[in-house]
């Protein structure tokens, strides 16, 4: 056993009604990558927050390099050599890379109260050099790609080393959750490189990545650390089983394809030669009753904008949208909602739910007409409707009156789904990364739900997190590249392989 950089003993943390962490003990060795896996609500994020100094434990001890520390603030954690790379990027867009990297610690590069730019850039270059990143320190941050910005985040955390004269401990909270393909590889390679300069705790929902990068894996369920595994002697299935505490049902068997849609089924939504300047062009497709249409494409392929257009959130410059044969011209989301279109946004926390409103209020928000009595809200009926959906979708919440922000990601997503499902006229449901950031169990549930919805006759447009999910769920797949549809696949007995789809994406 290497000398422990971080040793955590018997940490407890509780929130009202929830024991978030229950007697958790872990340790991290020097230059070790420790993977942390578990379902949403298992306590991973809470644990990271305690280590990063964002939240404080109720009891227990945290030792850094053999000394007990009190991590009462982010600054205190920084001083102890601990830095966190946040899920949502935390860089300032309007200043240079170097300024971001040294933000708050630019003292060395300040002379007579002014920035010594060459010195600042040089200090930043040292950090970027550790990652072999070819990003000019004087570049403005918002000109960088998502992945490049992620690297700048890494460099920023690495700068702790110079300040504490120790190699830092870096906490990575789902650094890969929004990445695909080549970008994903870049970040995973960087994690390998980070290991030479730091110790890492790596949290991800993608178990294959955790298996690949980690030296050791801790599995958490219900606030407890239930297992410690060596990735070399551990299979994906075993991890899943440990996380869930039971074997995965056949429901999540991705080889089971969606139910067949007959050619003769009526067309629900028809898109003809749709065009939006600078985003996409000549986009045409039909969605039949009960069909799941998957859209594949890299960032910038135009698929996200296309979805937003179909929901009325963006305008069009040409082409037609026909819903049940009727020409649609959406002036805004409200008109799309009226017409029977629902949208599950990728940004769940800002666009999907309103955290401060209760589960019930979130559910009925889009279709209050379903619970009206004359012009007034029928609060009793609203309560009934909400309980119905809580039960129907098995939403785990203390009650329908609980603020939505208190729910885990998967349950929040179910609230978003029920918001649309309660409309009697729902015809099309657009789902933008519906499983983003969800754990295996919640994914499986959403997965089954999507199938059921399709079977009930709703047309679904899907942008999935991974190609596997897309292939497993879709009846038809269209691939977008640079704003055009580059290929179409029909998923029947012979599904397209990931490679086949990928070929047309890039």
């Amino acid at each position: 056993m290497m000398e422990a950089v971080l040793r955590i003993d018997h940490l407890d943390k509780s929130f009202p009604g929830v024991q978030a962490l229950d007697d958790v003990s872990i340790n991290v060795g020097a230059n070790e990558v420790v993977g942390l896996v578990g379902e949403n609500g298992a306590g991973k994020s809470t644990l990271l927050k305690l280590i990063a100094g964002i939240d404080q434990a109720d009891s227990g001890h945290i030792n850094v390099r053999g000394r007990e520390v009190s991590l009462h603030s982010v600054a205190a954690a920084n001083d102890a050599g601990i830095g966190m790379v946040f899920q949502e990027q935390s860089l300032l867009p309007n200043v240079s890379v170097a300024e971001n990297i040294l933000l708050g610690h630019e003292k060395e590069a300040i002379r007579f109260g002014f920035y010594d730019w060459p010195k600042l850039n040089q200090l930043a270059a040292v950090q970027l050099g550790k990652l072999d990143a070819k990003i000019p320190p004087d570049a403005q941050t918002d000109t960088l790609s998502f992945v490049e910005r992620q690297l700048v985040e890494f460099a920023k955390v690495l700068a702790i080393e110079e300040r504490t004269h120790h190699e830092p401990l870096i906490l990575l909270d789902e650094p890969t959750s929004v990445l695909e393909g080549e970008e994903l590889e870049t970040v995973l390679d960087q994690i390998e490189r980070l290991r030479e300069h730091a110790s890492l705790i790596f949290v991800s929902h993608r178990l294959d990545e955790v298996l690949r990068v980690s030296d050791r894996i801790y599995v958490m369920t219900n606030g407890r650390c239930v297992a410690e595994r060596d990735p070399k002697q551990c299979e994906l299935a075993e991890l899943q089983q440990l996380m869930l505490g039971q074997a995965l049902g056949a429901e999540y068997d991705r080889k089971v394809t969606a139910h067949a849609v007959t050619e003769a089924a009526t067309v629900r939504l028809s898109v003809r030669e749709l065009r939006r300047q600078g985003c996409y062009d000549a986009v045409s497709f039909d969605i039949h009753v009960g069909e799941v249409l998957g859209i594949a494409g890299v960032e910038g392929s135009g698929r996200e904008v296309l979805c937003r257009t179909l929901f009325g959130a963006e305008g069009v410059d040409g082409g037609e949208i026909l819903l049940d044969g009727q020409l649609m011209c959406f002036g805004g989301c409200d008109e799309a909602v009226q017409a029977g279109i629902g949208y599950v946004p990728a940004e769940r926390r800002t666009e999907g739910i309103i955290g401060g409103l209760s589960v019930k209020e979130n559910m009925t928000l889009a279709h209050l007409e379903e619970v009206l009595l004359g012009p007034f809200l029928d609060l009793k009926r609203e309560k009934e409707v909400a309980s119905h959906w809580v039960e129907r979708l098995q939403i785990r919440t203390p009650s329908a009156e609980t603020p939505a922000t208190n729910l885990s990601g998967g349950n929040q997503q179910k609230v978003v789904l029920s918001k649309w499902l309660m409309a009697k006229n729902l015809k099309i449901l657009i789902m933008d990364h519906p499983m983003r950031g969800l754990d295996v169990g919640a994914k499986a549930e959403i997965f089954v739900l999507i199938r059921e919805l399709a079977q009930s006759g709703i047309g679904i447009i899907l942008i999935a997190d991974t190609l596997d999910e897309l292939i497993a769920l879709s009846n038809t797949i269209i691939v977008m590249r640079d704003g055009y549809i580059s290929q179409r696949f029909t998923v029947s007995e012979t599904s397209p392989t990931r490679l086949q789809i990928l070929e047309h994406m890039v």
């Binding site: 929130f15 009202p16 666009e351 739910i353 401060g356 409103l357 928000l365 208190n406």
Partner: protein
């Protein structure tokens, strides 16, 4: 994420804090000046607060969706001038015409704010200049109301021992309370206040809701102007201007968050009473009325610091 026990206790304390402040203020004043707690002086006190109550009610609706209306007091002054001018010749229809006009002005401000995406404080700050300028141009000095006075004079009477204007203001407040609780409009106001993007993506007509909120704010500015005319028998171009800060103070001291989405009109009623008592209290303890704005300033900062929804704020500007 989750709220801790301490936070829950805090929020309970916060919910009752305004009422406790009111009770303590009354007790202290009653101790200093026992006659203050007499029926007569309390009746005067509530009678004095009707203008503030109108303004604070309008202000609350706008603050609840996350905006602010800095023009409301100037619009009330303009309304007083227009009412004074119109009741002479046009009588009651003239009064109604002015109320429709202020409602329309409010709606227009709301439309510009929501459609052109101009922050509400900018739109209404410009409105403040516009409406007080207009009032001064129309009437550089006091306009006495003589012949047409009965059109507004009924406000100056009493029903069941309380002043009609106060009863009317409370009734108006209660009807808006009902709207906020039982109509979709109310739900939308809170939803926009708590999370505007999610509200938009849920298909809520955000522009329409904001317009309606501002229209109501304009209507209540008109009511305030009307009450001013009833009380002073005249219209004056700056008659309500000094009430802008007190009306915002009343909303926030009642416990409505300046960031929107939490609070309500019941709280505003308590807030208005606190401000009214504070005002009388300054006189009772023998301080110069010049100290009043100072007190409002302290109240605004203190109350906002206590009630602001920090989870919503990423950047403070």
């Amino acid at each position: 994420m989750f709220s801790t026990n301490k936070e829950r206790l805090d929020s309970t304390l916060k919910a009752f804090a305004p009422i406790m402040v009111l009770v303590v203020l009354l007790a202290v004043l009653g101790w200093i000046q026992p006659s203050f707690l007499s029926f007569y002086s309390l009746r005067v006190l509530v009678g004095e607060s009707s203008v503030l109550l109108f303004l604070a009610t309008g202000q609350t609706i706008v603050i609840l969706f996350g905006g602010i209306d800095l023009s409301i007091a100037a619009l009330a002054s303009l309304a007083s001038v227009l009412i004074a001018l119109s009741v002479h010749t046009a009588g009651a229809p003239g009064l109604i015409g002015v109320l429709v006009l202020t409602t329309g002005i409010g709606a227009a401000q709301g439309y510009i704010h929501a459609r052109a995406q101009v922050p509400s404080f900018v739109v209404t700050l410009a409105g403040l200049g516009l409406w007080s300028g207009t009032a001064l141009v129309i009437a550089p000095a006091t306009i006495p109301v003589l012949a047409g006075y009965p059109v507004v004079g009924w406000l100056n009477s009493r029903v069941f021992g309380v002043s009609t204007s106060f009863a009317f203001a409370v009734a108006a407040l209660v009807s808006i309370m009902v709207m906020l609780r039982w109509l979709p409009f109310g739900r939308y106001v809170y939803a926009i206040g708590k999370g505007e993007r999610a509200a938009l993506v849920s298909g809520i007509r955000v522009v329409r809701v904001k317009m309606l909120a501002f229209a109501l704010s304009g209507l209540f500015a008109g009511f305030a102007g009307m009450e001013m005319v009833a009380r002073t028998h005249s219209g004056h171009p700056t008659i309500a201007d000094a009430l802008l800060l007190p009306c915002i103070a009343a909303v926030v001291v009642g416990g409505t968050a300046i960031t929107g989405g939490s609070g309500g009109l019941g709280r505003t009623l308590v807030g208005v009473l606190i401000i009214a008592v504070l005002r009388v209290g300054i006189a009772v303890v023998g301080l110069d009325p010049g100290y009043e704005p100072l007190a409002y300033g302290i109240v605004v900062i203190g109350a906002v610091a206590l009630t602001i929804d920090r989870s919503k704020i990423t950047i403070v500007k």
